[in-house]
């Protein structure tokens, strides 16, 4: 049994044999809801990618590359099928609708994406840092965040400069 995927996605490709759907920002929540209704019961993974150093990457023609991407992996237990959604997130306004209301399990993953990549999720119940301390400045997984500039930081010490 193979689940049929929505036909009105902006674009879809395969990467190493895995199905990838591309979504626009305003369609994102509806697309995930549609996929959930189709039979993808589980949101197995959500992460953010910073493409700052690779702006001209390989994308379908009708997808305008943006600096950030949100990547969601959905899984259907009944059909044993996976699908991946890639959502372009502009650097000027990194704000994405949360899919917490569809899949409560993405709560920690969205917080991680916010904490490490600085992408905010609207309607997330508790959007705080999850891995870094409360008072940390900046988002470490961003490509323009210096690596190893401040070896040890104490709460009293000045932040990374």
């Amino acid at each position: 049994m193979t689940l049929s995927l929505p036909s009105d996605v902006v674009s879809s490709t395969t990467s190493s044999g895995q199905v990838v759907l591309f979504s626009s920002m305003d369609r994102y929540h509806a697309l995930v809801a549609e996929l959930k209704a189709t039979g993808f019961e589980m949101a197995i993974d959500l992460c953010a990618v910073d493409y700052l150093t690779q702006p001209g990457r390989n994308l379908p023609e009708n997808i305008a590359p943006e600096r950030f991407e949100i990547v969601v992996n959905l899984l259907s237990l009944s059909a044993r099928q996976r699908v991946r959604i890639r959502l372009q997130v502009p650097a000027g306004k990194p704000l994405v609708p949360s899919i917490f209301d569809l899949y409560p399990g993405v709560e920690a993953m969205e917080r991680e994406a916010y904490d490490l990549m600085g992408i905010a999720f609207s309607d997330h119940p508790d959007l705080t840092r999850i891995l870094m301390p409360d008072d940390w400045e900046g988002h470490p997984l961003r490509k323009d965040y210096g690596l190893g500039r401040v070896p040890v930081q104490f709460k009293e010490a000045p932040g990374p400069r």
């Binding site: 993974d45 990547v71 917490f100 409560p104 600085g118 705080t128 891995l131 301390p133 409360d134 997984l141």
Partner: protein, 453 residues
Amino acid sequence: MTTIDPTIRTVERSSTLSFETSEGRQEMTPRDETKPGELSKEAGAVLRLPEGGVLDPSQIDLERPDDETMIINMGPQHPSTHGVLRLMLELDGETVLRTKSIIGYLHTGMEKTGEELTYVQGGTNVTRMDYLSPLHNEIAFSLAVESLLGIEAPARATWIRMIMGELNRVSSHLLWMATNGLDLGSTSMMIYGWREREMVLTFFEKVTGVRMNHNFIRPGGSAADLPDGWEDDVTVICDTVEARTYEYDELLTGQPIFRNRIEGVGAFTAEEAIALGVTGPLLRSTGVPWDLRRSMPYLAYDQVNFDVIVGTYGDNFDRYAIRLNELRESIKIIRQCIEKMPSGDYRIQDAKVTPPPRGRIDESMEALIHHFKIFTEGFTVPEGEVYVPVESPRGELGCYIVSDGSSKPLRIHVRAPSFVNLQVLPLMLRGGLLSDAVACISSVDPVMGEVDR
């Protein structure tokens, strides 16, 4: 808080920094200061009404005034929290009302580090994430890199990966049996679990040179072949551990004190587990027969016979029984691996990926160049992105790699099963006693190394 519109952090806009980092505290707050969505999450209300975000009033007694409850802190130094997990619990007497787990105490930025390491070096990084099943991290990483490269490891390498992975599952479950025994006051079980695990780790040391953090399974195959006489070593491990699992049965399974501590405690349903993205023994304990080795086979798991162990009630006893029986199933797989182990290469004969044998370096200039290139700048991987999941002892361990065509990944993300599974804690603990919290944490089996990465 005002509407969130964070913008990119730049030098000229440093004023946004104070806003960016004022998103609030991670700690649990009193009820009247907590938003409804967060409150329902901490109270373990997972399944929502279709409208979304609406708390079922019967699920939590909101009438209880704040001054009758107290918020206490448990961890990160608490010995039963398996590392540095910190919980904040709202208690009414000894009954848990709300739970919030606070993590990050072991965060070392391994995903960021992974972007600075070549694909050859990457194995040393990922193996340290889930330090109780390092070989599964290496398998997921290697399969992902191989998938991007479009190569496939030789048959013997695949079977070596399977046998090492299953031995690692045995050692991880044995360690869980040990620590679970310790958490519930059975110190004998703790000693027995360590004792049997030691046998497996000694074998790992013989094969890979180290007891943990092996970097043994690499893109293209494995670092070395299995040593002479490995069949005998593995057979002894199988025979001993299998016989000992029946001793554990006698020691724990039928023991009334042990059963009373875990039966019916921390139960949740299959719907709740699926909604929370929970995988592994936790999902199987609710009766969902989902095991990637069977459901979406990788390596050569479609060529071996084994049973997927499922529970019924989703309580701590089911999870104990599942892990105990998975020990036996893993041993079954290991025995089949010994029988079916093919001969041949243990790593792919592709000079671009595999370093040349030591003997060739002295004779061939080309081999020396390949050796030098692979260990300095590494091999390049075509542009692309791939997500490869494997079944680790704790659930679905996924590795998402984005390559920009260079010899280092643009992004390496590990979907850590413990990180996601921890979200089930508020649900498990709600309405239970504080002393059961210890049993529940143990039953989730979180490894903080992969939670925090």
